[in-house]
């Protein structure tokens, strides 16, 4: 098992840092899956996460100038690591004006991702700051636990409104309630609602675009034949939604959500070279 990678371009480095910052807001620990072409940050839906799960995919070629990976075995040329993304995020904070960042998998006393940040210095020798981030190597026999979640058979699929507005509204609502109802229909309408003994607040978004019915494999989803005005709704933990929105430091190219009424809300946020899916289960 070997992994070493290097980023030299400052724009790529900042972009990579932003992705890690977003992941750190969503998961305390997560799985990093390395393949020849891609990196994946995965959070599977355990009770400890409040049932939320995440699948984030990046093409390594868009970020790294050098990328060498040798998996656990020839037929399984991948590496699965468990890590705390906040540690990686903190290490990358020191790299804001770096000349280069090298990441290497090491096993001196225990498995670590060694992040070496080369900083500019006045003398001819570079300054290098090294962070050793402990990781857990995930054995191949449980790799099946981390498969890409299938897109659920959704009732409504709709593009999200301006994230900035959504973020402000959800942040205020978080002061008022622990739960939020997100509902949307096929007429481009979405509502965010909270209700407690003290107060009820509903924000109405209109003129949003819906996606056509067909799901990925070309089959018609259960959205077909659905009454256009009828709302699909899910009551979710407001903190999960707030974390997702707060983690978006840059506006995604595409932001949409799929709702399975009373079951799950599936958010898809696409940037040019990163795709993030976040699943929040509905509560009773």
């Amino acid at each position: 098992m070997r992994f070493r990678a290097k980023i030299v371009d400052l724009a790529c480095l900042n972009h990579f840092s932003r992705v890690i910052n977003t992941i750190a807001k969503l998961a305390r620990t997560c799985t990093l899956r390395l393949t020849v072409c891609k990196l994946y940050f995965i959070l599977s839906d355990k009770v400890a996460n409040g049932g939320a799960s995440m699948w984030c995919e990046l093409s390594q070629g868009n970020f790294f100038d050098e990328f060498q990976m040798e998996g656990v075995a020839a037929e399984h040329n991948e590496i699965y690591l468990e890590l705390v993304p906040e540690n990686l995020s903190r290490a990358l904070k020191t790299a804001q004006s770096a000349k280069a960042v090298k990441i290497k998998l090491t096993n001196k006393h225990c498995p670590c991702l060694r992040v070496a940040v080369e900083l500019p210095s006045l003398s001819s020798n570079s300054r290098i700051v090294t962070h050793d981030i402990p990781v857990g190597v995930i054995p191949r026999r449980i790799w099946n636990d981390f498969r890409e979640p299938s897109v659920p058979d959704f009732d409504v699929s709709i593009y999200l409104p301006a994230l900035k507005t959504m973020k402000s509204v959800v942040e205020r609502m978080k002061n008022l309630s622990n739960f939020i109802v997100i509902e949307a229909n096929l007429s481009g309408e979405m509502n965010l609602k909270i209700e407690t003994d003290l107060v009820s607040v509903t924000t109405h978004f209109k003129d949003l675009r819906n996606l056509p019915w067909t799901s990925e494999d070309g089959c018609q989803s259960s959205a077909q034949g659905r009454d256009l005005e009828s709302m699909a709704e899910a009551r979710i933990d407001i903190k999960k939604l707030q974390q997702l929105l707060a983690g978006q430091q840059v506006n995604p190219t595409k932001a949409l959500c799929n709702i399975v009424s009373k079951r799950i809300v599936h958010f898809i946020l696409l940037h040019e070279d990163v795709s993030l899916q976040y699943f929040i289960p509905a509560l009773a």
Partner: protein, 281 residues
């Protein structure tokens, strides 16, 4: 105006209905008196007054007079209700607190009377938020009975002169002592904290002093913890009037200019901790 001014089709008519093109005209003033969760709202033909009290010793009032509103209608002589101010503020600022140039949140407020919730309709950029906040039985409020005939000492200062003093108030001092006198030191703020005592003097001919009417030497002490929230009102204001009566009760009146240049007032009343009328040097 995005919202209809008609009363609801069914149910009681609104006893209070008001509209504001810029909800910040209301929310920023309410923040200046937000030191407790609950507030009492009074609506009369003159406008809206929101009162917050603590410990039966301090009372703050925010006045948003009728001219500030684009529309303001009260069907009864006065409408009174108690409401959770923290919740009200979260609703008024639902679209965020930062003021981007050219954007503002439009507000419509409606209330059907005793037992009904307060309805807020807020709109920004085509997005509408509807809030329904439960109201409570209004409680008995303090009457400081502070009228101009009972005032012993009065000064009017430009707020910028006091801002730093209040922001850096020594919180290890239990009391803030205010001395007002026709003779030196004229106007003095004193604290007695862990590191020692601090005195801040404002001479009566200072540039910051807009008016100085002190007839009697008074030295009064007020609990710092009670007065500290008034810093929020001071931060927003351009001028402040400081008045005391014979019992040492303190009235602070803050003149606040809103984004459109209109004048609003916030006042704080505070009971003295001790009353020392003799000069102690």
């Amino acid at each position: 105006m995005p919202f209809s001014a008609q009363p609801p089709a069914s149910g009681e008519p609104y006893v209070l209905s008001a509209s504001l093109d810029n909800a910040r005209h209301l929310s920023s003033l309410l923040r200046a008196v937000h030191f407790q969760d609950h507030a009492t709202c009074f609506a009369t033909a003159s406008g809206l007054r929101v009162t917050v009290e603590d410990a039966k010793c301090i009372q703050a009032n925010a006045f948003i007079q009728v001219e500030i509103f684009q529309e303001f209608a009260v069907q009864e002589e006065s409408v009174i209700f108690r409401i959770n101010l923290s919740v009200l503020l979260d609703c008024l600022t639902i679209f965020g607190t930062s003021s981007l140039p050219g954007t503002s949140t439009a507000l419509r407020m409606c209330y059907r009377g005793y037992g009904y919730p307060l309805m807020l309709f807020l709109e920004e950029g085509g997005v509408v938020t509807v809030c329904k906040i439960n109201t409570q039985e209004p409680e008995e409020l303090l009457d400081f009975d502070f009228c101009s005939t009972k005032v012993v000492n009065k000064i009017i200062l430009q707020s910028e002169g006091l801002r730093e003093a209040f922001a850096e108030l020594d919180m290890t001092s239990e009391v803030l002592q205010i001395t007002m006198s026709p003779d030196k030191p004229y106007f003095r703020l004193s604290t007695f904290g862990n590191a020692g005592s601090a005195h801040l003097d404002y001479p009566k001919d200072s540039d910051l002093m807009e008016a100085f009417h002190c007839n009697q030497t008074q030295m009064n002490r007020y609990k710092t913890s009670l007065l500290k929230p008034s810093t929020k009102a001071l931060a927003l204001s351009c001028k402040v009037s400081i008045r005391t009566d014979a019992q040492g009760f303190l009235s602070l009146q803050y003149m606040i200019r809103n984004e459109d240049g209109q004048i609003c007032f916030v006042e704080y009343y505070c009971c003295p901790d001790e009353n020392i009328t003799e000069v102690e040097l």
